[in-house]
Symmetry: D3
Subunit: 230 residues, 6 copies
């Protein structure tokens, strides 16, 4: 953790979550994965997709940027590997549009598959047309300067959640969840088990059975003092 908050540092080489595990994790939704890892890792609900249907799973390349300054986003492009998602923290609350279609073009050309920003993004329409998955705190045309250095691939806090370089990032319409690098396979297993159980329950619920019976809740409700009146 000694890099936390360090400014002016670019780490070129980072360990990344295993690609096969990332692929498996990407089969599940954010809600399922958040549950599968014990309700941890979810970014705050202000983190919203820039276009409906955006969904991706990849490995985090982190950026610590100054508010209103997107210089480090260009620096990050050089260290991208295929399957990476750029995750941006800013050192003060800010919603300037620090990412748009030009950077999306660059990231995609270098293997990048998505972006998560604790600030704003712009060119929302073009991002949707490009189908480049983006989550952010705001959509905002306001541009940024390139004046002060930040860092790339240091631990950051984004969406209220700690993100280490190489962690798995999964986003969809429900938000963004972070899975620690070394736990991706384990969480994918848990998500798979959960999904199978849910699938079975979904059929029973669709047939009109009640959760009260499927999950055996009636006794616990009675013990908790729930009273039925007619």
């Amino acid at each position: 953790m000694s890099d936390f908050g360090r400014s002016g540092v670019v780490r070129r080489t980072i360990p990344r979550a295993d690609a096969a595990a990332i692929e498996r994790l990407g089969r599940y939704g954010v809600a399922t994965v958040h549950e599968a890892q014990g309700r941890t890792g979810l970014m705050k609900p202000w983190m919203r997709p820039a276009w409906p249907g955006a969904a991706v799973c990849g490995t985090a390349v982190t950026v610590l940027a100054q508010p209103g300054d997107n210089w480090m986003l260009h620096v990050a492009a050089e260290v991208l590997k295929p399957g990476d998602i750029v995750v941006i923290a800013v050192t003060a609350e800010n919603d300037d549009g620090m990412f748009g279609d030009l950077l999306a073009t660059s990231y995609r050309a270098r293997g990048g598959v998505g972006l998560v920003s604790d600030a704003g993004v712009r060119d929302a329409r073009t991002l949707a047309e490009m189908k480049f998955p983006v989550w952010s705190r705001a959509i905002n045309a306001r541009g940024t300067v390139k004046a002060t250095v930040g860092s790339v691939n240091v631990p950051i806090v984004c969406g209220g959640m700690l993100v280490h370089p190489g962690d798995a990032i999964l986003g969809d319409d429900d938000g963004v969840v972070v899975v620690p690098r070394e736990k991706v396979a384990e969480v994918a297993d848990a998500a798979d088990a959960r999904e199978k159980k849910e699938e079975a329950n979904r059929k029973r619920l669709a047939a009109g059975e009640l959760g009260l019976d499927i999950y055996g809740m009636r006794d616990a409700l009675a013990k908790a003092g729930l009273k039925y009146l007619d």
Copy 2:
């Protein structure tokens, strides 16, 4: 009103707004119905559809839940009748995702036609694909526990508006409006009259006539002191 705020109570049998009146009310938009009942009954503007185009009219089954606890949503499933909309209040401000595709499947199987939540919902994409109409304060993957009892079918405050079990609930892209159970037919009549008048005015406006003339505003404006400069 003696149930207000009571916890741990499920009322199985409630009077519901008349089904034929509900069907008629459902032909109009939220803005029209809100006007038709004298600009009352509208929930606060934070109550937004989970997917664009969501629109439904039904009868309220109310839930008073603890924040972060969706136990009572399973209890509510058992008392649903065809045409019901589950309306959720929480006892403290909270935007956890207490409703998702499994409960939507269950509610639909039991006759439920929609959901309005003063907290969050999740599985937004699946809800859209299911075309299950949902309005909420937030979309949030964060899950909930099943630990503390609340109540079902007691009066609640949802979206800043008092809702009694059996009231009519109408939602569309403009928000959600509540119509008291015994007034549904009367409000549908008023909405119909308003719509007819608006339709006539729409044609005149589309032809280039001015609202100033159609509504006869010129005198009132002059009396109010409005001055024209060239």
Copy 3:
């Protein structure tokens, strides 16, 4: 500026930005134009399109309204010229739905091509179906009265930005930008130059070249103290 804040005044005749320049400006996005005029003129990010894809460029007819009162919006209809966009300020923070499909029908019939409101709008679905471009602070079914006069075609502050009657207004998914009447041609030129440069860079970025090299940033980063670790 002597009209600023005057109430009860309608200016029928205003100078408008040149139509040919408006047409040229409308070929560019809000982000590009905001940059092209030196990062000025952008409304606050709370100003959002009522439907995705809304995009328009036109000349401002300004309205200063009382909160919860849309009387002046009818007055404005009469002074519209083809290509005008109605821009609304309210004298206190308010998100009532003061504009809907009837006024959109009227404005369109009189040549109006869009609306920007620092309050709320309603009939969101119908506005989308009509493809009438609208930006606002909120979508809200809540209606308004016609009781107090305001002004038409006085300078206003909307979305945190000063707008004079006749200024160019450009909106898209990224927000709304104001261009002073007399600068439209000059800003369109600058936007064109910027777009051409961006287009060239987009191709190089798409081919995998780095912004670091295209924009020649490496020296400046080194001077600013950026350090690379392996």
Copy 4:
């Protein structure tokens, strides 16, 4: 509940919570009373005192006002009885300063002992000097008109909480809590019991004993799986 949302009605005579019970309730803090009535009745945390140290207990005279219109606050003055607190709801979100030192002077002269407003108040400094207890959503110099009637002494929703005329209202630095008229004595008893228990615990805690031991939590924590590491 048939008055709910009715506009244009003033109820002169209302049943009020018992004065002796009100006096007893006023000995406790908002946090204690909220607990004593089973964690119900607390207004949302946006309801804040206009000056630090404001504290009062009284009976509710309710006002349903139009946003930006304080006409009904003058109407309410006439129906005040000694010990009353005026509680204001507005029909749309609004923070205009609809109450100031003149109305405070009038209310005090007529027996009023406080005010709770879901909108704004002004003359904050003078209210503090007068020591007139006020809670509101905002402090805002912006004034209001006297143009549209509302109602006095109908049930309202204020601070997200249902308030009936005659209910007990208790406010202090922690916020505002509503106690239903017929439960005031019972809740005062419960608050008294709670306070006595807390007083005993406070002494033990001040002496260095742990809540873990006083409340016997160690077993439950172990059962819940809490693990201690050195």
Copy 5:
């Protein structure tokens, strides 16, 4: 208005509101002056005093700053005249603490009597001890750089309100109001008249007379349809 939004300009010499008129205006509260100039000129309610009791009246020296950059605040110090209040706008929403006790010391030494900032301030405790009147959107220790030029003494939008250099600025616990330079004497007269009328009414209200009678509202209320029930 041709300077609006210009960056990189310092106007040394500005016309200022008349000092005697400023002194007279300063005898009244913000709420009174806002009323006296027809309910215009009030900044948004997010503009709050940094310490309770802050109150001042002076002439505006305006600053247009970049977010997170307080360079121009030093530039402003040089053009201050006795009785000036520095009023800051930032080109994007930002709450960094761009003003603290050192600048307050400098401003006071140069004749400055207060500060109004659409961003944040810091050293709140010291400002209170110095009794230097400050209003801002936020209190925030976060510091700023000195890297990009803005402007001094151009028209700005601060707190949602247009401010010209030399306008009168009046602040107290209720917020901040702007009075155009050339209207200060006239508004002070109107405030004086209003205050006198209010003083007379205050006495009558304190004696228990009702506003309903003093202001003769009973007929208008009856005409508006208000009904009394017993």
Copy 6:
């Protein structure tokens, strides 16, 4: 960092920042220390003191709590050492009043000197009378349950900032800053140097010298293109 996000763990023994260094750090304000450590470590501006003048410096004992559940705050009491400040994160956004005068009494008896909470606190008046320093996101009477375990002395994110057990926590009217445990002496040195420099500058500024001259800004401003007009 392996404990991050772990639930159900209490670490009894933690390394703490050096007591003498903490004492030295406590001589400076939050703004100074935030600058002295290179503008890092500052919590978000929503973290406000519960009473004006609250100021303290100590070592962090961290708590990760469930929203609406203050069980772990009792667990934390047992591991407090003299000079500790309890720092609370919650696993979802929440502003329930999870800390009040009883816990403050207990913490003080065990050596605790303050509290920082990313949720709400209550008993605000009593906390002020006790002069127990508290910072929080909200003041809210709403109480909490004791139902689900969290953790004590694991790394947490509070106020948007990463906090490790044993880190230095400094709070005053300007907010709260975190200093990593091993850097406290170094940061105190830097704060001291900064303070000395500021003290010298304060005298020159108070004598009427300009920052423009003291900091030698004139050349840089001219190079940046600043123009003076008369």
